[in-house]
Chain length 192, copies 2
Amino acid sequence: MMKIDQQAILKAATEILNTKGIAALSMRAIAANLDVKAASLYFHIKNKNDLFEQISEGISQRVFEKLNRVDEPDLQRLMDVFRAELKRIQDSPQIFSNTAPFTPYRTRLIQFSLDHLQQLGVPQQFTATAGNLLNNYVLSFVSDEQYFSRVDSSTFDESQFKSPINMADPDDSFQYGLNLIFAGIRVQSKNG
Amino acid sequence: MMKIDQQAILKAATEILNTKGIAALSMRAIAANLDVKAASLYFHIKNKNDLFEQISEGISQRVFEKLNRVDEPDLQRLMDVFRAELKRIQDSPQIFSNTAPFTPYRTRLIQFSLDHLQQLGVPQQFTATAGNLLNNYVLSFVSDEQYFSRVDSSTFDESQFKSPINMADPDDSFQYGLNLIFAGIRVQSKNG
DNA sequence: ACCTGAACACCGTTCAAGT
DNA sequence: ACCTGAACACCGTTCAAGT
């Protein structure tokens, strides 16, 4: 009998996400993973939404800590670290989409974005829009990455390898979109 | 007894979405709306995912048709029309996110984006990235719009009106983000 | 303090049976 | 051809009851 606590529940949930995806993440599945009954989980967590918030908040905390392991962290580093941490948990972008962005570390990351955008010259009334654009970019990008890595491996199609279209490397693609956004921010700020 | 067909099911589903949102959109709720039992729906549609695809495909078709009601449609018009049609159905962005983008009209819209991006000088290997960026921007933007319009009306807070922070008009915000992306595309293309 | 059995109010989907 | 009753295999959540 392991000790069941929030940590253990979080770990079991992450394990299910990374092996079977969010569609298989039921309270009953988490409980089974911990050799316990579903009802027991509610002694440790409020509900499933609370669990989702803990997952997204945990990711946000790790992003925040890695972010500040460098002298002068900027938006480029935020996005790189954010993407890397999202990729560590299958379907994490969906979890972010399904939770309100008001937990402590997640709020810190938003504040970091807004501060840096303002510093880059984004007009105050549009920092939220630009911040959402960045946030949604990384969430959507990782969501697409994880989606296609599932589709590609399930519907294995040899013709894809003969295809003359050379798909860009995911890292390059991510950076292309980021550069595009950063360039756009610079232009908008000059003209503002 | 109304005649129950795909059209009627689609209409009932849309009605539920616009009154109660996607969380209330169950097969049983759709059936009840049509004075029929849930099992009957499966005589007309394959399953719930099929219904989701019909909803997103219907939106895509209307976007495509409105798009071509003008002489030389461009990406600006695509995004404006897309946003307008998404806003007509509550939670439509989530429906797009939960369906594969391989239906006919939806494919046409993607092709339209890719063609125009290439014409703007986006390198071939990055047209998909830029297209996804645009697509995800409008989906995320409308999703946020619909989310906050729900939160604001439920947790009515008078202090928000006294707040000195002037939030930008949604239309202006949307255009700001679009201009940012378009400006970024132009810069990337010059340097490419 | 922590866990469970049992139940409640739901899901999507199938299928033999009805008309 | 079209609809339904009944069932199957699930959900999240609650709560009295157990230890």
